[in-house]
Symmetry: C2
Subunit: 395 residues, 2 copies
């Protein structure tokens, strides 16, 4: 608990009104008063302030309830912009987002093995470009980064790929740009992006399993990112699902990532390409060591049975790991994101099958496992969402 | 978000002051003002009200900081009482609790296979007896029940043992006693009891794994019970840890409960008693079908190697299931409760070993797995804690 002052009370109710208008898309002052329980006078005074701040606009008349038709008000989605950045494996991606999460000025800068300060400079370059293109006041900068992040203090504890160790990323960016900065792990932030700007979950909880080179889950509890005690929540890529199995980069054997990450899947396909060359696209045959997930997908779509088996196997392990997550969290809305999500329904079906096999029927009955509604921009949209949530309390 | 009124603002700050005094055990008005950030006048006015309500008392003078020694204030722990009830398998247990969770008037009524209305009458009987013994105003009644509970509406969805289906337990009790009533699943409530009245966790999160006839975890996130979307959070007794293993009562094979519940352990011991009768207590030998956990414990303490192996095996499966919980939640304070906890350090050691084997080292490094600090009254103390938390916001 924290103390509450009268000024905070006023700000609180103003945010409440803005949130109410935002969530109903279009409303009238009377409707807002009804929904919030605040008096009409309070609503009118605070709406006037919001209009002055260009956050809310009057927009025509609504249907009459007998008397004068009410003036309708809405949040001006373009009134503020957020900068969302995804420090992805191969490229840094960034965009300007409006208050509904629509991305404009999508910009990608290839990483080309830059590390340390060079990688930081590339990120500055990306943000500089986006700031120049902004045409509304900027609410802040959000960053989704791989690795272990201290989201409270904006410190990258370790991002192996980028060569960052204990990097005070928020401080550096705040100093340079004089803007609010929010930093979080890319999986955590992806889940919050899906929660905020994706198709609406039935409740206030959501889990997003991100499967690409790495595997981890982002968890939203009661409308907020759940980070865990040391910012490691959802790190299920290294749970052991195949005891005594393949050696993992983490030093253990049989981790989920050794059987279900795109890296593991590509490596399995490289092993079978000799046996069934006819079912792989020509582009890979000459150069199997450069095989990528998209090549595997092409072979999969061409009907390669061995590849289908590999994907089924991966889906089954993912389902097994999810059965523990579902039993622990009892979150009924689970979504799959990341590059493996491109395998679509066949992958989903195997995941669901194993979850049904391995989870208490009363728990699984209400649980829905779907593909994430946001696509490749899920992390940068999440990065924008975290700015919006913190700065305007709209989410 | 909800609207905030001036009356709510005052109540909020009053609760904040009470909480601050409660948590610091003993304080002065000046110290409370410093800690809360409220003005001295506000603190003095609201403390005066709390003294009038007999929640706070003045208690001697503190050390002088130069001037007049300050008058010290504390929460009067016996000012209010809660009734805490544990609807355990064999007996209904209840007690009166003071505001620090100390139990008086502990009362146990054997269930003797009562079901349905008869079980309800037994619960009424228990509460009637406790109410008669109360010597302070009662804050409310808390109930920990086995089965699936809708804690929000106080409805027992299903408690197989008691023959209750969709029983509006809170409504029934509220009608009868005209008191605030809180009902939750016994594992959820045990975790909240440990969080509130047990040894203090380092943060605001805690997971308690309760292992008895059934197995489930109670999860406290940010100081509140985490129920999950359909009140099934922590139901890990039926995750599959031994694929293709023994048939479970839930219809699946190899659930955690088939290898690590006390029921499973007793059944395994019954199978080996023929081979090694000399290492079982005489009391069981004549009557192995009535073997209980306490008999297994006795054989274990007598050094029965086969029993030790059974316990090690159970511990290893519990550790395996916990590795998923730790990877999902990243809660660093994990405690073991329930009757299996009586096997103490040898059990803990196996659990920890498997957790270390199966969990990412950076996650497990900061994680501590211990026995719960509360004992057999953990559920009824949790039932009291949930009343205290809701009625006085002290937790």
């Amino acid at each position: 608990m924290k103390k509450f002052t009268r000024q905070e009370l006023k700000n609180h109710n103003k945010r409440l009104i803005l949130q109410t208008i935002y969530q109903s898309s279009r409303s009238s002052r009377a409707e807002v008063a009804r929904q919030t329980g605040l008096t009409r006078t309070t609503v009118s005074d605070l709406v006037a302030e919001l209009i002055k701040e260009h956050l809310v606009v009057e927009q025509g008349y609504g249907p009459s309830a007998g008397g004068t038709p009410p003036m309708m008000i809405e949040v001006m989605d373009s009134a503020r912009q957020m900068i969302g950045i995804d420090l992805a494996n191969d490229e840094f991606r960034g965009g300007l987002l409006d208050m509904r999460g629509h991305v404009s000025e999508l910009t990608k800068l290839p990483l080309k093995n830059r590390r340390g300060e060079e990688a930081i400079q590339l990120m500055y370059d990306l943000i500089d470009r986006l700031l120049k293109k902004a045409d509304s006041p900027i609410l802040g900068i959000g960053i989704g980064s791989p690795g272990v992040l201290d989201a409270r203090n904006g410190i990258v504890r370790i991002a192996v790929n980028l060569g960052w160790v204990n990097l005070p990323l928020s401080d550096r960016l705040r100093e340079r740009y004089q803007q609010p900065v929010y930093v979080a792990n890319d999986s955590h932030i992806a889940a919050f992006g899906e929660f905020t700007f994706g198709s609406k979950p039935p409740g206030r909880n959501l889990a997003v399993l991100k499967v690409g080179r790495g595997i981890s889950a982002g968890i939203v509890i009661n409308g907020r990112i759940y980070y865990g005690d040391t910012f490691g929540a959802g790190e299920i890529g290294h749970v052991v699902v195949d005891r005594g199995g393949k050696l993992c980069s983490c030093g253990k054997r049989g981790c989920l990532e050794t059987v279900a990450s795109t890296r593991a899947i590509v490596s399995l396909c490289q092993q079978i390409i000799q046996e069934q060359p006819e079912l792989f696209p020509n582009s890979v045959l000459s150069n199997p060591e450069n095989m990528e997930t998209s090549d595997v997908l092409e072979a999969f779509e061409m009907g390669n049975a061995a590849v289908a088996e590999i994907i089924r196997n991966a889906g089954s392990y993912l389902g097994y790991a999810l059965s523990f997550l579902i039993a622990t969290l009892n979150i009924v809305d689970i979504r799959i994101a990341g590059s493996l999500a491109r395998f679509g329904d066949p992958l989903l079906d195997t995941i669901r099958e194993t979850v049904h096999e391995c989870t208490l029927s009363t728990l699984v009955r209400d649980t829905h496992i779907e593909l994430a509604s946001l696509g490749q921009n899920i992390v940068l949209q999440g990065a924008g969402a975290i700015v919006l949530s913190n700065e305007l309390k709209l989410v």
